[in-house]
């Protein structure tokens, strides 16, 4: 995941993803000057509402809160707690960690020694090959989950493999994918990563069917939308798993869902994932650490405990736009996992907000000034 600090202006295509932000922001936050009577100098000079909004944003804002990784409260500041904690550290780093690395290595060995032959030898028998590869990927994911001592409780009916359906889930870290994948071999749509993750993506994940996108390319959206549609219509493809937030969020909030997955004309099955932070904070703060460091942290913690809920499949209601549909599903997932909703596009992590938002505010003020001038006449 690239962590460069350079922000670029978002392409205009991203605008259509957002429902009206004003519907979400609390009513007190819009410029609230009630225009009455003649326009006087005071009205033009008094910029205090705008300044208050700016200062409010500097002091605290709902967007940054979504990506705050709260450090765990230290509890080892006592004479008897500290040795206990040290003992815990020793167990975690010297006993658990090597054991987990061993488990993972064994898993990789079994996986590669089965996957590679099957991939090449069964080239002709596609159906059988894919079935075996699917089971192998599921198995490998189980090994991964075991390597963090994952305690995952699945609620709800197991996803069935049917055509014309997509699965959407909230996103906290790339391990979301692994946790879901160990139960069902999903096809997934992901940002192409560099390094060893990218290698994994292009070789093994290809076998379950993956779609790549590139956040930084503006035209990419149309290409990806086309690929999504093709995949969903194919009967033999694995069910598609999409993270509509488009970025990792800290499992306390959800950012706006991109409407792309909701305008494919198929059933949307929401999946909610909630991690228990007592054991480890599973949020992958991609701005702060690489995926390897993140994995390392998981492997040296006690356990990764989470709940996964497979929720009732939803269809687009008649008269409902794709954006409203997306927000309705986001609501379902947020309520189930106990997450708060914020009205921001996750991509704002990587690009500046569209100038249209600023222009909206300017237009409001301009309109109120012009209106009061008219009133005088």
């Amino acid at each position: 995941m690239s962590t460069t600090g350079k922000l670029k202006s978002s392409s205009s295509e991203l605008d259509f993803d957002r429902p009206n932000i004003e519907d979400y922001l609390p009513s007190g936050s819009t410029i609230q000057q009630e225009p009455h009577g003649k326009l006087c100098l005071r009205d033009l000079l008094n910029i205090s509402p705008t300044l208050s909004e700016a200062a409010g944003a500097i002091v605290d804002d709902s967007f940054t809160r979504c990506f705050k990784s709260n450090p765990p409260e230290p509890w080892n500041w006592n004479v008897y707690l500290f040795p206990l904690w040290c003992f815990g550290v020793l167990v975690r780093y010297l006993i658990l960690f090597p054991a987990r690395v061993l488990v993972l290595t064994i898993g990789w060995m079994i996986f590669l020694s089965s996957f590679i032959p099957v991939h090449f030898l069964l080239k002709g028998h596609d159906k059988l090959r894919r079935k075996i590869e699917r089971s192998l990927v599921e198995m490998m994911c189980s090994f991964f989950v075991a390597s963090w001592t994952g305690v995952v409780k699945y609620h709800g009916p197991r996803p069935s493999i049917r055509p014309k359906q997509v699965f959407v889930a909230n996103h906290t870290s790339m391990i979301d994918f692994i946790i879901l994948e160990q139960m069902t071999a999903f096809a997934v749509i992901m940002q192409k990563h560099p390094g060893w993750v990218g290698l994994l993506q292009s070789t093994i994940l290809e076998s379950v069917g993956c779609i790549w996108f590139n956040r930084s390319e503006a035209k990419d959206r149309e290409i990806v939308a086309k690929k999504l549609r093709e995949h969903v219509l194919g009967t033999d493809n694995n069910p598609l798993l999409i993270f509509p937030e488009g970025t990792c969020v800290n499992n306390h909030y959800t950012v706006m869902f991109k409407k792309g997955s909701f305008e494919l004309g198929c059933t949307v099955c929401p999946v909610a994932i909630k991690y228990n932070k007592i054991f480890v904070d599973a949020f992958w703060n991609s701005r702060k650490q690489s995926f390897s460091k993140h994995l390392l942290r998981l492997m040296t913690s006690w356990a990764v405990v989470c709940d996964v809920w497979y929720l009732e499949p939803q269809n687009q209601k008649p008269g409902e736009t794709a954006i409203e549909f997306a927000e309705r599903v986001r609501d379902i997932i947020s309520v189930r996992a106990g997450l708060k909703k914020v009205p921001w596009d996750g991509y704002l992590k990587y690009s500046h907000p569209s100038p249209k938002l600023k222009q909206g505010k300017q237009q409001n003020f301009a309109d109120s000034v012009l209106r009061r001038l008219e009133e005088e006449k």
Partner: protein
């Protein structure tokens, strides 16, 4: 003052409180420090323009560019002093002084017609023509008794903005 994620000492807090004329409580200063460190991602001791603009709520504010110039290179102590005008404990005079500073970009103690026009342009964008803007501003200035080519000073601002309740506040959340 310590570097990014280190804790503030009691001395540091008192120094900052002194500098902002006690407009913030000690708890609020600690909270602001956490926020400062959160925004100052590369830990260089001040918040760069890019880091401020990464807050979408700030980036969409029409006066953001103007405020960025005022916020440039401020360390934590100066950052708190900057925000002191938004504290509920700040006097109306403090708030008016702040507003004056926003207008008076060249810091010469005078706000000219063009200065006011600049701010009005920031606030209204392309939705009012330049001509109309000038016209409106000239009209309201004349009505208030000021000539178009005269500059306003701080006392004028205090007179114009002083009487009716000026509300300019930002709440500091205490964890």
């Amino acid at each position: 003052m310590g570097n990014s994620s280190s804790m503030l000492t009691q001395y540091d807090i008192e120094e900052v409180q002194e500098h902002c004329n006690h407009t913030f409580t000690q708890q609020e200063i600690v909270s602001l420090y956490q926020r400062f460190c959160q925004l100052d991602r590369n830990g260089c001791g001040f918040i760069s323009a890019d880091e401020f603009l990464s807050v979408p709520e700030f980036a969409v504010n029409p006066l953001s560019q103007r405020l960025l110039k005022m916020l440039y290179g401020l360390n934590f102590k100066e950052f708190v002093a900057f925000l002191s005008a938004f504290s509920p404990r700040a006097t109306v005079e403090n708030k008016i002084e702040f507003i004056f500073k926003v207008y008076d970009t060249d810091c010469n103690g005078k706000v000219s017609f063009n200065d006011m026009l600049d701010v009005l342009r920031d606030l209204t964008g392309q939705f009012i023509s330049e001509q109309q803007r000038e016209q409106v501003l000239t009209e309201v200035l004349e009505e208030a008794g000021y000539q178009k080519d005269s500059s306003l000073v701080l006392s004028d601002f205090k007179k114009i903005l002083g009487n009716s309740g000026l509300k300019m506040e930002a709440e500091v959340h205490l964890d």
